[in-house]
Amino acid sequence: MSKIHVTTKINGDPVEYLCEPDETLLDVLRDKLGMTGSKEGCGTGDCGACSVTVNGRLVCSCLVLGAEAEGTEIGTIEGMAQGEALHPLQQKFIEHAALQCGICTPGILVAAKSLLENNPDPTEEETRYWLAGNLCRCTGYDKIIRAVLDAAADMREAS
């Protein structure tokens, strides 16, 4: 198998890597680049724990080939906080106790950020459907939904 050289941008930083043709973006992030914030819960696009954005579009990184990232801009959980300043969603997740074990949290935060970029004032139902591809087994989603709606309200006020 011949490796592919990929030049991309991750969280604003230029990144280069070599990957196998059938290697997923998730494997590249976790195993090659040491960015283990994106999690593998299923490997089939059913749990959302590996959510990232590619050119601003929310996707499961387990269903993207590493080779496809050439020339794109990738956003991961590691790029969500600006230095020490947490993103409002991150802050609200802690305040609302919207995580228990925390394994689904990175994927849900990336997905929720994408939601608020598309729709700054989502209803509870819109939020629930947008996040339907992010499984959480601990919380029953209640506090997650509250945290997202609260963060949205704060962000609207701040803007």
Binding site: G43, R57, E68, A132
Partner: protein, 285 residues
């Protein structure tokens, strides 16, 4: 394994024809990558068509819309003209997987995966959509209902691939709708799917209809008897009853982990009635 990423349709056709081994076309990848991962597919090459600009566009054509094979579900939903003309097709495409899957999945891929439960396919069939197939001998147009030949099987010849889907011009006073049944509210494969597209005359009589069912046969099926139940009627309760009966009769499903034969057969009729009502409202009836 090789990863090929042509930037023109001609190059793609050429590479596919030249590739000596098993070469799979990658559009959204939401089915192919799952197969790779599980070991169900072990191709020698993957041909990524997403860098072909022409396949990433939705363009107006003869009053209808041509949707490139690399256009994602999310991009379809963001296209106002397409949503206005074919809301049922866009809704059906939007039901494929999660928000994350929507960012990648394509209706061409959904068609080529040839699952009888594919959400967008009944809606395309009801809409009278046509697949444009590219290959070494040029392109050919095939009605969407003729593409799937069985679970996982299509009419595509070796070295052919679907380049775009054409949705025809929408007649006046017409509407389409797609409904599926799933056990949860999201993230499931359709247990039954039903799409209805119909056109009304000025007095509200149904002049043309197409009805399609998913997950009740080895392929998505067009049900002419169901369309006949609507045509010439005001889509009243009696017509809807006849529609439901025709769909139940046409259903020939299997029992599996997602549903029983009895359930699928019964629900095919229920969904047909509900989908027809939505299509009727959309047609201004």
């Amino acid at each position: 394994m090789r990863y090929l990423a042509p930037t023109t349709l001609e190059d793609a056709v050429h590479m596919l024809a030249e590739d000596p081994g098993d070469c799979r076309v990658l559009a959204g990848g939401t089915d192919l990558l799952v197969r790779l991962r599980s070991g169900h597919a072990e191709p020698d090459s993957i041909l990524d068509i997403k860098r072909i600009n022409a396949l990433r566009e939705i363009t107006g054509e003869e009053g209808g819309w041509r949707i490139g094979a690399a256009v994602s579900g999310a991009e379809m939903r963001e296209h106002e003209g397409l949503c206005a003309d074919w809301p049922g097709v866009v809704e059906a495409a939007s039901l494929i997987g999660s928000t994350q899957i929507q960012g990648r999945c394509t209706i061409a891929g959904n068609l080529c995966n040839a699952s009888p439960a594919a959400d967008s396919v009944p809606a395309m069939v009801a809409a009278g959509a046509v697949a444009r197939i590219a290959g070494p001998n040029g392109t050919r147009d095939v009605a969407v209902e003729d593409v799937p030949q069985g679970p996982g099987k299509t009419c595509l010849e070796k070295d052919e691939f679907v380049a775009s889907i054409f949705l025809p011009a929408r007649p006046e006073k017409s509407g389409d709708a797609y409904l599926r049944f799933i056990p949860r509210t999201e993230m499931d494969i359709a247990v039954v799917g039903c799409a209805v597209s119909l056109t009304l005359s000025d007095d509200g009589t149904c002049t043309a209809a197409r009805v399609s069912l998913g997950a009740v046969a080895p392929t998505v099926i067009l049900v002419p008897e169901a369309a006949a139940a609507l045509e010439g009627t005001k889509v009243d309760d009696g017509a809807l009853e006849a529609l439901a009966n025709a769909c139940t009769k046409a259903a020939n499903p299997i029992a599996d982990k997602r549903g029983t034969v009895e359930f699928r057969t019964h629900v095919a009729g229920v969904l047909a009635r509900r989908a027809a009502n939505i299509a009727l409202t959309r047609a201004g009836g």
